[in-house]
Amino acid sequence: MIVEALIAVAFASALLVMLSPNEWAGRLAFALSLIPFLGSLYLWSGFDGSGNALTGGEIAYQTQIEWLEVGGRSVSWFVGLDGISLPLVVLTTFLVPLAILSAWTPIDLRQSQFYGLMLFMEANLLGVFTALDFFLWFVFWEAVLVPMYFLIGIWGGPRRKYAAIKFFVYTNAASLLMFIGFMSLVFALGDSVSSFALPEITAAIANGGLETWFGISPGRIAMVAFLAMFLGFAVKVPIVPFHTWLPDAHVEAPTPVSVLLAGVLLKMGTYALLRFNFTMLPEQASALAIPIAAIAVISVIYGAMLALAQKDLKRIVAYSSVSSMGYVILGLIVFTEYGVGGATFQMVAHGLISGLMFMAVGVVYNATHTRMVGDMAGMADRMPVTVGILVAGAFGYMGLPLMAGFAGEFFIFVGSFSAPALPYAPLFTALAMFGIVIVAGYLLSAMQSTLFGPFELATDYDVGPAPFHDVAPLAVLLVAIIVLGVAPDIFFEMIRDAAVPVVEGVSVDG
């Protein structure tokens, strides 16, 4: 019942913070958000799951309670953890307190609502990563949109209304497409499934339970469902060319929201791709291996090139997220132990690194009120600690060894270079690797012109070292990134354990 308790605590905290006075909403929210974090550490320490939850693995902390029954199929409150969901749960509960801490300086309006919505979002994110029943999962998945809409729309930048609505409509339309895709699978499974539990559905598909439905052959239904779900999740990830909501949402969102958006929300997309597309329909995935790998590589290169062209620091980080998520897709499609495992690991690593980058850019913005590369120079003189961490984070992004980003990318490249399931694997891998060079290029040039050299600022703000509660979360994140880079096994062992059954779902001939 610990998983439920975490979600319930987050919901209750959200309510409590929402009703608290603005003056101490931030502190209360931070204190309360530590409870789920400690809880997730407890989950981690006692984790005894093995294998993949969807393919009959041992699910840790499992609860399954009948909820309701519709048309002969039951919906249940079904939550549990395996090696793929646990790291993401820990990532969520770890990032939320830090994001809340980083909100103390910039958020000066309707604080209780802001922190309440942040915690409400945390509760739903935890639900997304733990739910194993489709309906339960979808409820949480969609419920994440609501706080995000308000967080961007109320506390965002000048074009916040546009960005909020664009985000809402894009991702909601995508959800609908995905919903239709999944439902057509369920209907085509007919009587061979009696519930919406994901393990049961996965098993039924693997056993050839798909039937002809409305005169459409099983193979075609599976393919259509795969495409509908893939497109639906592609928007969330986001993959080029469905990425256009992301820079808008990121640039307009306040820093702490960007941290969660890049850190956790984008992982919802890749997590769902892994769970639904690649685990449930591996055959369709490998049939489409070349186009998907091509999209992944295009996302990597194109995202990086777009970042190269930006002048706004936040936009640079936002576009590089598109690029990084491309690696994750590449890792998933190659269907090797290291590819799928590395992709999952990269989700966590990117969550930490992009969180750090957004937070650091936010701290610089709080002090200078500009994010434009041309408007400032020599920030290192005035805020040395922040800048130091920012540079370290940028190196993490570039994949410097002994940092989390390196581990993730390394696993992916190892997995993808000689992947039997993907034709021309070495070529795709080499092209994707080229992205690292561009990343290094734009990050270094942006750092060079804003951070170093003599101090200069286009605005009138007096720039000094950032307050402790702004720098502390940066430091904590940097430590986490290094720890994960030095000892990737603290997560990778369990991830690999859950990734292997996914890989085994694909039979490679020759």
Binding site: L68, V70, G71, V139, F179
Partner: protein
């Protein structure tokens, strides 16, 4: 459980509503000078709640269900109490209690609100009588018992031109459709020789090729059925008898709009559900060459599309809600439009429609009551006038956001489940096209529903003084709105018993 009470007590929910109305009328007649708005509202609310309590108790104890000896027939079988009747009575009683509580503040300065309460309760009595009607004669009498008080209620603000005009339009269209409905009944009687629903069905199957002096009897019955369908379309505000709805809902006092668009509409559906399953069952109708399923299908598709598109272009919130309520009539019509002759999934889809109407009763009533609150505050009617209300009235605005997202079918609100189960039921029964049109409409509706949320939370008020009037805190209105919001949220986790009761009730009809 053996029912030891006299059978007539099964009508307790109906009688409670009627007697409360009579009691109010009596007090108003004998003590016209000492009557008070508050005591009137309290008495009507207590009466409605007592009726609701009796209904819930009956449902819980299984009165009229198959487990306790089946439906209870009274008055020479003209009245039939079964689970479906009780389910709808629960909707009517809940909406009525919300409306009378809210009316207390809405009519705070009205010289003579006593008639309002008694008329509302009489209309509710008529609705619950409709739910138990087992003969076309009772159906007609009950329908008129709903309609006549409704005409007066719409024109209740007799100093207000809009209200009077709306009342007149409603009355004219209503009188016309009553005539059509009655003529339809007489044609059915002419063709089948009976007014009892069950007997009509028995004859209908035998008259397919039966002709006598005046032509084909199935032709006459078919014409009658189409005319009855017209009467139902009027009551449910469906195309092509929907023209009165936006006018009446807009001109009527907002609590009356809430009452009409939720309870009165549900009353129309209970007629449709019962008459078209018991008197004209799909199989018997088809063998008599009458395909009303197709007629309902076209009606549903056109109604939801027209309602949603018209709602999307409105500038006034109340009018938008009026059109969106036409759209929702289209969704609920799926409950009859997606029936098939083999009948395996009929209970599921009609049950889902019933559950949707229950959820709709709360979310739509709540939305109109929020409009009532805005009218009480004199903030204006357009989306722009609502801008920034969240800052001054956060609780009510949050409730409104809940209603809007729930009406749009977003989790984590109850509207999500009720809508999706409706669509799934349609797909399961082979009506993919209806579900597809419904889903597309749902996405469109998100656009205009989110406009309200955007205005409330994200937009800035037109002028700094625009919101000064809302220092008034109408307690009863707040209570009603918050209660409806809480119900809308709690119905999601509590959806199990609701959908199971509804499915069981609907399945008993086939």
């Amino acid at each position: 459980m053996v029912n030891t009470l006299p059978q007539v007590t099964a009508l307790l929910p109906v009688l409670l509503l009627g007697f409360t109305g009579l009691a109010l009328l009596l007090v108003d007649t004998f003590r016209p000078d000492t009557r008070s708005n508050t005591s009137m509202a309290v008495v009507s609310a207590l009466g409605a709640l007592a009726s609701l309590a009796a209904t819930v108790w009956f449902v819980a104890s299984g009165t009229g269900s198959g487990d306790t000896g089946g439906a209870i027939l009274l008055f020479a079988d003209a009245v039939k109490v079964d689970t479906m009747a009780l389910f709808f009575t629960a909707i009517f009683a809940s909406v009525t209690s919300l409306v009378v509580v809210a009316a207390h503040d809405y009519f705070h300065d009205h010289p003579n609100p006593a008639t309002f309460y008694s008329l509302t309760l009489f209309a509710a009595t008529g609705m619950s009588l409709l739910a138990v009607a087992n003969s076309l004669a009772v159906v007609f009498v009950a329908l008129e018992m709903v309609s006549l008080p409704s005409y007066v209620l719409v024109a209740f603000l007799k100093q207000n031109r809009g209200s009077v005009e709306a009342g007149l339009k409603y009355f004219l269209v209503g009188a016309l459709s009553s005539a059509i409905f009655l003529f339809g009944i007489s044609l059915v009687y002419a063709a089948t020789g009976s007014l009892m629903l069950g007997e009509v069905a028995g004859v209908l199957g035998d008259i397919a090729s039966d002709t006598d002096g005046i032509g084909s009897r199935s032709g006459i019955a078919g014409l009658g059925i189409v005319m009855i369908l017209g009467g139902v379309a009027f009551k449910t505000a469906s195309v092509p008898f929907h023209f009165w709805a936006p006018e009446a809902y807009e001109g009527a006092p907002a609590p009356v709009s809430a009452f009409l668009s939720s309870a009165s509409k549900a009353a129309g559906f209970v007629v449709a559900f019962r008459v078209f399953t018991e008197a004209f069952p799909v199989g018997a109708s088809l063998s008599a060459n009458i395909n009303w399923v197709l007629a309902f299908g076209i009606l549903a598709a056109v109604t939801m599309t027209l309602g949603n598109f018209a709602a999307a272009v409105q500038e006034e919130v109340k009018r938008m809600l009026a059109y969106s309520s036409i759209g929702h009539a289209g969704y609920a019509l799926i409950g009859v439009a997606a029936l098939s002759a083999d009948g395996s999934g009929n209970g599921a889809v009609m049950g889902a429609a019933m559950a949707h109407l229950l959820v709709y009763g709360f979310m739509n009533t709540g939305a109109f009551l929020f409009v009532a609150m805005a009218e009480r505050w004199d903030v204006g009617r357009t989306f722009e006038d609502y801008a920034g209300l969240a800052e001054r009235a956060p609780v009510a605005s949050t409730a409104m956001a809940v209603f809007m997202f729930s009406l749009a079918g977003l989790p984590p609100f109850a509207g999500f489940f009720s809508k999706y189960f409706l669509f799934m039921g349609a797909i399961d029964n082979g009506f993919l096209w209806l579900a597809a049109i419904g889903a597309v409409n749902s996405v469109i509706s998100l656009y205009y529903y989110s406009r309200v949320v955007k205005a409330l939370f994200i937009d800035d008020p037109a002028s700094p003084t625009a919101l000064d009037a809302i220092d008034v805190r109408p307690t009863a209105l707040y209570a009603a709105v918050v209660f409806a919001a809480v119900a809308t949220v709690l119905l999601l986790p509590g959806f199990g018993p609701v959908i199971e009761t509804a499915e069981a009730a609907a399945s008993a009809l086939f």
